[in-house]
């Protein structure tokens, strides 16, 4: 059997339960001697309370007035230290929006990183707009194909570390192959 909790029994003893809860409590108490004893106990305490009130030299109405006054004093002090203007205005709103924008931008960058450029060390051989270039640190060397349409130049890379530029020399009419090999 499931018993009502202590609160329900106490409220029932004081006649403070609602109609449905009261009906359910009565129905249970009719079958449960243990809970009837609990309710009887609450009734005894209720009957003792007025005598306790009389026996103590406490001015309840005065105490209530003092508590009310203290609560009002606290509310008045809170109003004194609060800012006069509205919270979401001016620079505060700007700072907050900027912070949110920075947060969103950071999230987008972290989620979709752009192409990264790796640092190149050692000897690098590459084709450039003017020809083939080899560089290492601050030194570089170039093979050029001057006087030739750049679109007409064919580049070929050797995985061993070479680049060649092949084109038809405009002056001689011969195919010319310029090659840089770093080996």
């Amino acid at each position: 059997m499931k018993h009502p909790d202590q609160e329900t029994l106490a409220l029932h003893a004081g006649g403070d339960l609602g109609p449905i809860a009261r009906w359910r409590a009565r129905r249970h108490l009719a079958r449960c001697a243990q809970c009837r004893e609990e309710v009887a106990g609450f009734d005894q305490y209720r009957q003792l309370l007025p005598s306790l009130d009389d026996s103590q030299d406490v001015h309840w109405s005065r105490l209530a007035a003092e508590m009310k006054a203290n609560i009002r004093l606290g509310l008045a002090a809170g109003e004194c230290v609060s800012v006069a203007g509205p919270i979401w205005s001016g620079a505060r709103v700007g700072v907050a929006l900027a912070s949110v924008a920075v947060l969103l931008a950071t999230g987008v960058v972290l989620e979709h990183p752009g192409p990264t450029v790796a640092r190149e060390t050692g000897v690098v051989v590459q084709a450039t707009a003017d020809g083939v270039q080899v560089r290492e640190g601050g030194q570089s060397m170039g093979l050029m194909h001057s006087g030739t349409n750049k679109e007409a130049v064919t580049y070929q890379v050797g995985a061993q570390g070479s680049v060649e530029a092949r084109y038809v020399d405009a002056e001689t009419g011969y195919v010319t192959v310029n090659k840089v090999d770093v080996e």
Binding site: T116, V177, N178
Partner: protein, 370 residues
């Protein structure tokens, strides 16, 4: 003090290099120097280095006993550090006995300013290829092999266009030329940087994975590619390795493969040639060897990194122990649509230029020559 300032200013000025270029064609050379112009070549100081801006023209004469089909020159300002040497080669020549021909050298070299005295530049003959595919020269750059391969490709492509002329006449030849020129202008290209022996792949490129090679196996190739891979991270591919087997009856001493890569859209590009790293390669019939290079290639297009999605390899050049070379046939290249990805041979490039500048009749006359 004024004298010191004056000396400094004089060092920073451009200095002509006329009279400080040494031409070395070798003893018993089949070519002789009959003219040289240093043009507006000059040298200038840049920090501790001397920058040589070469714009030279040499005129050589065939003084040998055979027609010359190719010449390679080695141009050196210093051998020690990067930026000191390069080469200029002229393939697809057909120079008769006693005939002269020009070679232009446009190059920028660097050398330390501390090196005093002597010539600023040495131009050395490295190889001369004759019509019978014999070769003369010190061959320090393996020019004889390269010139021979170019000559075989020239023979192959001249025969191709001659065949078209014979079968379809000038009109068919014109169409073949237009197709060739169109293919070259539409050929997809990437900018490739070669980094020699970088220690590690940069973490900025992303995670590294092993990309397996797929292969185009030409039926007539003496070499069969078996297996291969490269380390790929973002737009960088490094340390390619390909296992090959000699399926011919002859010993092979040089191997070169072509390497294609694909972008995320599936477009193929020629990445690089991949020569065997072992200069003393000896691959008997039926044996296998590994072709590998410890370099890294970085691919960009219009300045933007291009991620690598696939790798394809094919045999592009084989040299046998007796010095003879094999190159893919025209049928090999057309069967696998490689003609759309690979650059035209030097000879096809020359014929295209001839057609564009001098017209169909000049091209027909050129193809009728032996």
């Amino acid at each position: 003090m004024l004298a010191l300032l004056g000396a400094g200013a004089a060092l920073a000025q451009d200095v002509p290099i006329e009279g400080r270029v040494n031409i070395n064609l070798g003893k018993d050379s089949p070519v002789a120097l009959v003219g040289m112009s240093t043009g507006d070549s000059h040298s200038s100081s840049r920090g501790a280095a001397l920058v040589l801006d070469l714009h030279m023209a040499l005129t050589l004469r065939n003084t040998g006993a055979s027609r010359i089909h190719g010449v390679a020159l080695r141009v050196v300002s210093q051998e020690i550090t990067v930026g000191g040497k390069g080469s200029v080669s002229i393939p697809s020549l057909n120079i008769g006995l006693g005939e002269s021909f020009p070679i232009r050298i446009d190059m920028q070299l660097m050398r330390p300013t501390q090196v005093a005295g002597g010539p600023l530049v040495d131009v050395n003959l490295d190889g001369v290829l004759f019509e019978d595919l014999s070769c003369y020269g010190p061959d320090r750059l393996s020019s004889c092999r390269t010139l021979t391969a170019w000559d075989l490709e020239a023979q192959r492509d001249r025969e191709h266009f001659k065949h078209i002329l014979a079968q379809a006449g000038p009109k068919g030849l014109r169409q073949a030329m237009l197709d060739s020129i169109g293919r070259q202008s539409a050929r997809p290209q990437l900018d490739v940087r070669v980094l020699r022996a970088p220690a590690v792949t940069s973490a900025a490129l992303g995670p590294v994975h092993t990309e397996q090679f797929a292969f185009l196996d030409f039926p007539d190739s003496p070499l069969q590619p078996l297996d291969g891979w490269a380390q790929v991270a973002g737009n960088e591919a490094r340390s390619p390795r390909i296992q090959v087997r000699n399926r011919s009856a002859q010993t092979i001493k040089y191997v070169e493969l072509g390497w294609l890569v694909s972008d995320p859209g599936g477009q193929q590009y020629l990445a690089a040639s991949l020569p065997a790293s072992d200069p003393a390669l000896y691959l008997p019939a039926g044996k296998t060897a590994r072709v590998e290079q410890d370099t890294a290639l970085r691919f960009t297009r219009a300045g933007q990194p291009v991620s690598i999605q696939g790798a394809v390899g094919f045999v592009s050049r084989v040299q046998f122990a007796d010095g003879k070379l094999w190159v893919p046939s025209r049928a090999d290249l057309e069967r696998d649509s490689l003609v759309k990805v690979l650059p035209a041979s030097a000879e096809e490039q020359r014929l295209n230029d001839l057609y564009l500048k001098r017209g169909l009749d000049a091209l027909v006359q050129e193809l009728k020559k032996n």
